[in-house]
């Protein structure tokens, strides 16, 4: 388990051993992994990280799980400058963390690599998850590579690409007639009855830690400097919360002197309970029934929404939401300016970033990093009608020449 000391309740601070537990037995609040940071500080340095594998596991001391990893090579995805998109948005120092470049093309490979490593250490032979799609892909692939049985539960109306890119790895794929929140609820009940490692239920405290590696990598790739502002998509709110924890931990173990990174969140208006709470000034998340093309973010009852609101407020960030039309425009804008094809969640991030720039929340001089967490090929339905051939012609030079002239 590396430098893991145990688990601690985020609300009442009751402590638990490092076991497959996810909520405090007393107050039901989430549990979080506790580390021996002094031990980690003594064994980690810029040099030790640079000498590590070119994957998220170069940060192994700051993650749960031992040496026997379930690892398809997640992490160390490109951090690229985005001058053309920056010019469109009025930002002079914009960067994109391109997590479409993961083994199953989303950031979920990070959390799953940790979750399955830990699940195997606990002795489980069957892993499971409730998923909006990206997690399904990642769990199915990693389980296949590790020789673990997998049960994957998805809403029955998921995008075709996400269904195919799960089923192909051979898990038991269960399509549930309902929303993600219905699937999640079912899985919570199943998790109580079956002895499985449910990555987002009983393994969740460990699983969620994998998201920190996004923050670690961004800082390393910027030459051990924390960015001024990070824009993060929000589904359950876990990723945003863990970006902050990751930055704080880098300070705690002495890898950077400090950070004053503002963390902002992005939602689709059709499922924006966290943005709504932020904007109305409360920390009370009112669940909603999702209605948006951004299905990977369509969690109407986000478990970590409360903490995401808190993190955005305390770091001076903001949380905003955008319409489905803006999501499609965001996907197209990112693709045509920077050559990155993102799934709907990426469209949500870019459209929200635009909105935050227009509102003066993100400043032109800030070094801003937008997290692009999933690949556009997973959700082609969202943009298929807007992305079509310029013209269809016969294979004849004259026709081409004439038609091109017309276009000009």
């Amino acid at each position: 388990m590396g430098a893991v000391l145990g688990l601690r309740c985020r609300e009442c601070s009751r402590e638990y051993p490092a076991e497959p537990l996810h909520v405090c037995e007393f107050c039901f609040a989430p549990l979080e992994v506790v580390y021996d940071y002094d031990a980690i500080a003594s064994q980690i340095s810029h040099a030790s990280i640079a000498a590590g594998p070119r994957s998220m596991w170069r940060f192994a001391p700051l993650l749960p799980g031992g040496e026997n990893r379930v690892d398809l090579g997640a992490g160390m995805t490109p951090l690229v400058r985005a001058p053309r998109l920056g010019a469109e948005l009025g930002l002079r120092d914009l960067w994109l963390k391109n997590d479409t470049a993961n083994p199953t093309h989303s950031f979920k490979d990070r959390v799953v690599s940790v979750a399955l490593t830990v699940a195997r250490e606990f002795g489980y032979t069957t892993v499971a998850c409730a998923s909006t799609g990206n997690l399904a892909n990642a769990v199915a692939a990693h389980a296949a590579a590790a020789g673990l049985e997998a049960y994957v539960f998805i809403p029955a109306d998921l995008e075709a690409g996400k269904v195919v890119a799960t089923a192909i790895y051979g898990p038991r794929l269960i399509a549930v007639k309902g929303t993600y929140d219905d699937v999640n609820r079912l899985c919570s009940e199943i998790a109580g009855e079956f002895e499985w490692a449910f990555v987002n239920v009983n393994i969740r405290p460990y699983y969620a830690e994998g998201s920190k590696s996004l923050a670690f990598e961004v800082v390393e790739q910027l030459g051990w400097q924390a960015p001024d502002h990070v824009v993060v998509p929000i589904a359950s709110g876990s990723l945003l919360t863990k970006i902050r924890r990751g930055l704080d931990e880098l300070v705690r173990v002495g890898l950077i002197d400090g950070h004053s990174t503002r963390i902002s969140g992005a939602q689709a208006t059709g499922c924006s309970p966290v943005a709504a709470a932020f904007k109305s000034g409360t920390d009370h998340i009112r669940p909603v029934k999702p209605q948006t093309i951004a299905k990977s973010l369509a969690i109407g009852n986000p478990a970590d929404g409360y903490y995401a609101v808190k993190a955005a407020r305390e770091t001076g960030g903001a949380i905003d939401d955008v319409s489905d039309e803006e999501v499609v425009e965001g996907i197209r804008l990112l693709a045509r300016t920077e050559g990155i094809f993102a799934e709907t969640a990426g469209g949500v991030v870019i459209a929200t970033l635009k909105r935050l720039c227009d509102a003066g929340v993100v400043h032109p001089e800030e070094r801003t990093v937008a997290l692009i967490t999933g690949d556009g090929l997973k959700t082609i339905e969202a943009v298929a009608s807007a992305a079509v051939p310029t013209m269809t012609i016969k294979p004849r030079l004259e026709e081409f020449a004439a038609r091109v002239k017309e276009k000009e």
């Binding site: 039901f28 989430p30 990206n134 009940e189 969620a208 589904a235 669940p287 009852n301």
Partner: protein
């Protein structure tokens, strides 16, 4: 009025491992009173001091979250299935 309540794993220490209990209750509020009577300590685990359901506890009557219904005043028709489920993240 009788409702059948599914008890989540973290609360089964109170119910001596029992995963489903029947209570006489006509609203969710009554149900919590009934659980407290049968399993002292249940209320403190499920509710804030104000009496509201804790932030990280979801209560479903049938298929619906009580936050979409009438909260603690949500009626429990005879034979209703109630589920108490801790919030879980996902994605």
């Amino acid at each position: 009025m009788s409702a059948s309540v599914r008890i989540p794993t973290p609360l089964r220490t109170l119910t001596k491992g029992v995963s489903e209990v029947n209570v006489d209750a006509s609203t969710v509020r009554d149900m919590i009173d009934a659980l407290e009577k049968e399993f002292p300590g249940a209320r403190e685990r499920l509710c804030e001091e104000s009496g509201e359901i804790r932030r990280f506890v979801n209560v479903f009557v049938g298929d619906e979250d009580i936050r979409f219904l009438q909260g603690l005043d949500t009626p429990l028709p005879d034979g209703t299935q109630v589920s108490i489920i801790p919030a879980v993240a996902g994605g």
